[in-house]
């Protein structure tokens, strides 16, 4: 038998092929070993995609050498940026 296991928000975090029926609130019987359900939310009798928040890229800070070069440049130019 195949089950999808859901968390408190109804989101599937595991699929399992078992040897027999399991009676448990967070286990939902499914037709097959369907890994595409991982990350989806149970809505009634259906599964819906959960919108993913876009990751905000972090601007990398310049490394130490670049920082020193900037300081030297600033000193050479009297504080004026090139």
């Amino acid at each position: 038998m195949y089950y999808a296991q859901i968390d408190m928000d109804g989101i599937c975090y595991a699929v399992t092929q078992t040897t027999g029926p399991i009676e448990q609130d967070d286990l939902i019987e499914i037709d097959g070993y369907d890994e595409s359900l991982l990350g989806k939310r149970r809505a009634g009798e259906a599964w819906e995609d959960v919108p993913v928040e876009p990751e905000i890229p972090v601007e990398p800070e310049p490394d130490r050498i670049t920082q020193l070069e900037q300081v030297v440049d600033a000193m050479l130019t009297g504080g004026e940026t090139l």
Binding site: T16, Q17, D26, P60
Partner: protein
């Protein structure tokens, strides 16, 4: 003399109708062997279960439920894990972070498989496993 010898063999071999027993006739002992699960089922494997488990981007451990097994006669196999890449954040941001990829599996009890990792680095990890129970 001949009659005594035949009688001895009859007792040793027994009859097909003899009840299975570890101390009885040859027929009785074969009956016992046939009754063993390994012989009766033609395999030493009692059951196989498989699963895929996700550790969320904030989890270092998570569990999955399986059908009950005898933990003393069961092996848990790790089938692999995958996770997105991650790097140190500012101000260091020099090294790739990898520890969130490395996941351990434990057969916690007869119905639970647990996946654990040292750190999550804000990344999901997906783990596959199989549970093989023997007779």
């Amino acid at each position: 003399m001949m009659e005594a010898l035949l009688s001895f063999f009859r007792r040793q071999v027994g009859l097909r109708t003899d009840t299975a027993s570890t101390t009885g006739s040859l027929h009785a002992k074969i009956g016992t062997m046939i009754g063993k699960p390994i012989i009766a089922n033609g395999s030493a494997v009692k059951s196989v279960q498989r699963g895929t488990l996700v550790l969320s981007s904030t989890q270092t451990t998570n569990t999955a439920t399986i059908s009950a097994v005898n933990t003393a006669k069961t092996m848990l196999n790790f089938l692999g894990a995958s996770a997105g890449s991650s790097a140190e954040t500012a101000p260091t941001n020099r090294y790739a972070q990898t520890s969130h990829h490395f996941v351990r599996l434990t057969l916690t009890n007869s119905t639970t498989v647990t996946a654990t990792r040292v750190s999550h680095h804000d990344r999901e990890a997906t783990v596959s496993y199989e549970v093989i129970e023997y007779w």
